[in-house]
Symmetry: C2
């Protein structure tokens, strides 16, 4: 399955061409800008961060709209919402299955990939009768490089 990310991230942030509709979601001006912002820097911004960045191109945008757009994008599987502890939600344009590494010293979040063919049941005692529908893994640690 090819992600929207792969299709779109080749162009430069400002010029990225975003279609009128993605996964059945009408891409309005503000949804486009917000999605563009997420695609451009892969730094897992919060709604506030996105709001501030969006004002460059959409001076009249409201925080509520940012929340609405982010929610719409999340609902349609176009972006992923990332929660760390009880901090503000962060948003990520990478919808491939992956895990997040949070470095408490820098505050940065890094994406980490699964090994191909990984299987949760290899490391967990999954009882019978349990059907796993989703996995959420967050690592805490230091990144020296």
């Amino acid at each position: 399955m090819v992600s929207h990310l792969d299709q779109l991230s080749s162009a430069l942030p400002g010029e990225t061409e975003i279609p009128d509709e993605i996964s059945g979601l009408r891409m309005t001006r503000q949804r486009q800008e917000i999605y563009r912002i997420l695609l451009s820097g892969r730094d897992h911004p919060t709604a506030q961060d996105v709001f501030m960045r969006a004002k460059d191109r959409l001076p009249h945008i409201s925080l509520a709209t940012v929340y609405n757009c982010l929610e719409a994008l999340v609902q349609h599987g176009i972006v992923r919402q990332v929660n760390f502890e009880r901090e503000s939600s962060r948003y990520c344009p990478n919808v491939q299955e992956h895990v997040h590494l949070h470095d408490p010293t820098t505050g940065k979040i890094h994406d980490i990939e699964f090994k191909p063919g990984f299987n949760l049941a290899d490391i967990l005692e999954i009882p019978h009768g349990v059907e796993i529908e989703g996995v959420e893994i967050t690592l805490r640690g230091k990144v020296s490089a």
Copy 2:
């Protein structure tokens, strides 16, 4: 390493004898009650839940105290704070390393154990220079049994 859970959970909830001090934390009356509540039903209650249950034995306890006590217990590694999405934090007296399975249909949370000798690096591409300090895994799924 023997957990406090193992030492304490044999007695009945109400009678459970809790020492004056655990891991360097002075166990005041309210901390004892709150810890007892967590030990008795392993249902991952929220601070509100704990507050309501605590009022049976400590009618004058305040919600702030419940938060204070829970925080103290968490800081001293006596209980574990569990966050699911952006919901209220839940608290768990099981401090062994384990993961949580959230069943959205029932709203219940189940503990799932790691297999002995598990290794995260078996399923994840951990880059060089990354030192993992903590892991948090949450599964979403249905429990039929």
